[in-house]
Symmetry: C2
Subunit: 517 residues, 2 copies
């Protein structure tokens, strides 16, 4: 037991600089810029990549320091990146106290997990609190995500992670005994059933206040697709009005601060292009629980190039979802679906929106597979909600589509959210053709998704891939098989270059050519 004999005066801790908006977009990691000759920088021993605490009378964040040349700032100023500026809610030249950031103690739990130690619920709560408060640097977030990959988190740790992610955000409550939700674990390009399911289920009188995420590693999330059809960036009170009026909504979850730790993690997951089962379960279920759902239906597509590759993996994931949900009071049903090939024609926000509209409007050209999948999911919810008897759900859902009720409900929801929009069309398009005649044997979902992303999806809403043929179809040599859509020539070329390196993205079996000729 020792103690310091002398204490440095507390006033030296309050180093105050004047805030200046630098106009530099570092994405979400807050960055502070300080002059090389800044007295605060020198007296505190700061250097580039030091973690620094920035405080105003009402807010406090941790930012990463970049030391800058004298000409970029006036003496006594601290520059802020866009994200730091917004988090601190500053005005130009307002005072900003600068000090060392305390070491993030909870990162010790990440280290422990990397060494395969079991974490207590309180460890995980501390960790998630710090993540949500943006106390982790991007590099630390990356290590945390890596620590959760595979089966490193035990079921109890996943329950704790999910519960902690709920606890750090808002939780919605609804004046209804049953509140439904659905989710698809992804990996299947174009599988945009959610807008259809919400329209059918709400048209049948059940409550389904749907919050969706933007894409993590896919070319489009439901929120990205819906945004091409209606505003999705709704306040909580606006969302409530929509649900009270229409029984359902289709909004972006990030706008209502449900599970904010998840939003912080997702952007690093995207950069790593890395999904872990534990993060998947915690992310999905924390959003559902925070949204006030009592019942969640989870669609798990299974296929060799889907996110879940075989029945065993799907059963394991399903069991984990059900167990975690049950531990936290959420009734989870899991449906395995065919994940062998893309769903619908479009991959990318606007292209998928077009498919959704075609199904709702009952066009002849509407993709039959998308319609069938939506009916299967909506049917399961209708049965669970006792709208119809067991075994009658799919039929009931199809009738709701066919008689126009689902389309009317969808329009009403979009209007309540701020108005139905027409999805944009890409200015730059180019087809890819079969190099030989034959039967389309396989489509690589992962490479197809990458192709759509290289074309600009989801950031460029009109970008993506339009499939012109499906597995099993016979094609002639030179016949178009897909069309790449991009908003810029650079992205179109980037995607086509990728295609030229991966011609087997679509496999064609020439043995079947005679059948056609």
């Amino acid at each position: 037991m020792i103690e310091a004999r002398t204490r440095v005066g507390a006033e030296t801790r309050h180093n105050v600089l004047r805030a200046r908006r630098m106009g530099i977009d570092t994405y979400q990691e807050p960055v502070v810029y300080m002059r090389r000759d800044c007295t605060v920088c020198r007296s505190e021993g700061f250097e580039s990549r030091s973690r620094v605490r920035l405080s105003t009378p009402t807010r406090q964040i941790v930012a990463t320091l970049n030391v800058v040349a004298e000409h970029l700032l006036v003496s006594g100023e601290a520059g802020l990146s866009e994200s730091a500026w917004q988090l601190l809610d500053l005005t130009d030249q307002s005072p900003l106290a600068v000090s060392h950031a305390d070491p993030v103690e909870s990162f010790g739990h990440v280290r422990a997990k990397l060494f395969d130690r079991v974490l207590a619920a309180s460890d995980i709560e501390a960790l998630v609190r710090d993540v949500a408060a943006r106390r982790y640097s991007d590099v630390q977030l990356s290590a945390f995500l890596a620590a959760c990959v595979g089966d490193r988190l035990a079921p109890d740790e996943i329950v704790a992670l999910t519960g902690a992610m709920v606890a750090v955000g808002e939780t919605l409550t609804w004046d209804a005994p049953q509140v439904f939700d659905k989710h698809c674990v992804g990996g299947l390009p174009g599988n945009r059933t959610t807008p259809l399911v919400v329209a059918i289920v709400a048209a049948c009188g059940l409550v389904m206040p749907k919050t969706s995420s933007r894409a993590i590693t896919s070319p489009a999330g439901t929120a990205d697709t819906m945004e091409t059809l209606a505003p999705v960036d709704l306040s909580l009170s606006h969302m409530r009005r929509v649900v009270e009026q229409e029984g359902g909504c289709l909004v972006w979850g990030g706008a209502v601060d449900l599970s904010p730790a998840d939003d912080v993690l997702i952007r690093v997951e995207r950069e790593l292009d890395l999904d872990s089962e534990a993060q998947l379960v915690a992310s999905v279920l924390s959003k559902k629980i925070s949204a006030g759902s009592t019942h969640a239906l989870i669609d798990v597509p299974v296929g060799p190039t889907a996110k879940v590759r075989d029945g065993d993996a799907a059963r394991r994931l399903g069991a984990l979802l059900e167990r975690t949900g049950a531990a936290l009071g959420l009734n989870v049903d899991v449906i395995q679906t065919d994940g062998s090939q893309p769903v619908g024609r479009g991959i990318g926000p606007a292209l998928e929106a077009r498919d959704v509209l075609a199904v709702l409007q009952g066009h002849e050209s509407a993709p039959a597979d998308l319609r069938a999948r939506a009916a299967a999911l909506a049917g399961a919810i209708l049965e669970r909600g006792a709208v119809c008897a067991g075994g009658q759900g799919v039929q009931h859902a199809l009738e709701t589509l066919d008689d126009g009720r689902a389309w009317r409900k969808f329009q009403a929801i979009c209007e309540a959210q701020g108005g139905l929009r027409t999805p944009p069309v890409a200015a730059h398009q180019a087809p890819a053709v079969a190099v030989r005649a034959g039967r389309i044997a396989a489509i690589d979902n992962r490479r197809l998704a990458r192709l759509a992303k290289l074309a600009g999806a989801p950031q460029a809403p009109a970008a993506g891939v339009e499939l012109l043929a499906r597995a099993g179809d016979r094609v002639a040599a030179g016949e178009p098989v897909l069309r790449v859509h991009a908003e810029t020539p650079g992205e179109l070329e980037y995607a086509l270059e990728y295609l030229s390196r991966h011609p087997d993205l679509v496999g064609i079996d020439p043995a079947d050519r005679e059948v056609r000729s």
Copy 2:
């Protein structure tokens, strides 16, 4: 098999901007700044955190994009961070071609490893090549390091990792049949034996061209300490002259481009404060092999708060070091040493240098433990090099210290490296005292190291901790136990705050107070 029917003209790919040095130090991650309205940015679909390829006629790097407001750059300019500017070796307004960076294919191997798949040597080679070429973002480097923690890498993978790290850098060769090296795996504050070992061994006629690293997670690396005594940032040709003349040197390994992938990884490891056994073995041995060593002696301190906590862990690490070395043609000897408490008096670059000088100069005040440890290590090398018979090494080493030969050799080496320096003294110091009388029962190495780091070590060379008592010593209440040294008041206070939260950094057993009184 499909192909694109139309190709976009190749000329659109060559988007050329004029380079401008922004004067922003982002540490090692290269960052490029582009205006929000930049045509290249828009046509390529770039956004903040996009990975972008920057090319000059002779060089090419991948940088992270930050989109900036119009006032920071003239139209047609691209701003470069200090690291990007140096890597590209630019001059102001020189043309810079900007394009999408190819996805780093080898990162797929990192993902596979996170899912516990075994990597082939060729996978690891591709990965290390990309790391050394700075194609990985900091977030990706973090995931790679996390993937190597624990026993995730199999012995063969560690051999492949070590070999790949050697292959991407320079390899030195020496005109001597036996070339000696030593290394301490660390975790023991103040254990600065290397300058002593080199001086003794070279004084006895063996060849020991020592390259050392800077601190990773400790308050001082050997290169940090040596830099307070002599220049260590030597060119390869300068290093050769020193070794030819004196038989030994003490230089910073980073300056001679040995195992450059290791240097890239180390800075992220430092930010994560995370060491893995696999990275440790690969880092240590790749440096030794690259440096042209035939024999390496590895000091593994074992203690409850050292990096290696017990004999089992030390034996496992030792076996891994020996096995990996043998597979790559390096003869590795491992010595377990006492890691129960810090070595010497000083912790931090200059404070450790003072201890080294005291031992070399034979001061009465010289720390006996540091002298004994250096003699044990040097003795093992002298025996291995047949300078003396087995069992005579320690005695031979002590004689070389006592008769002044080691001190003369050390001075000669420092002069050859550019001149012996006097270590700096910290401007701000404060003692910590015992809060009660008793016997010092334990010193927490990890917290002591953190205290020294919070005081500014190793970036501030004079900063650190000076121990005024050792485990087993009896102290009176109020008696100084250690002294914190800092170069700035802010750092001194930061360290003292940490001390106030962790008074048990030094444990005092009051049961023993009567013995003293």
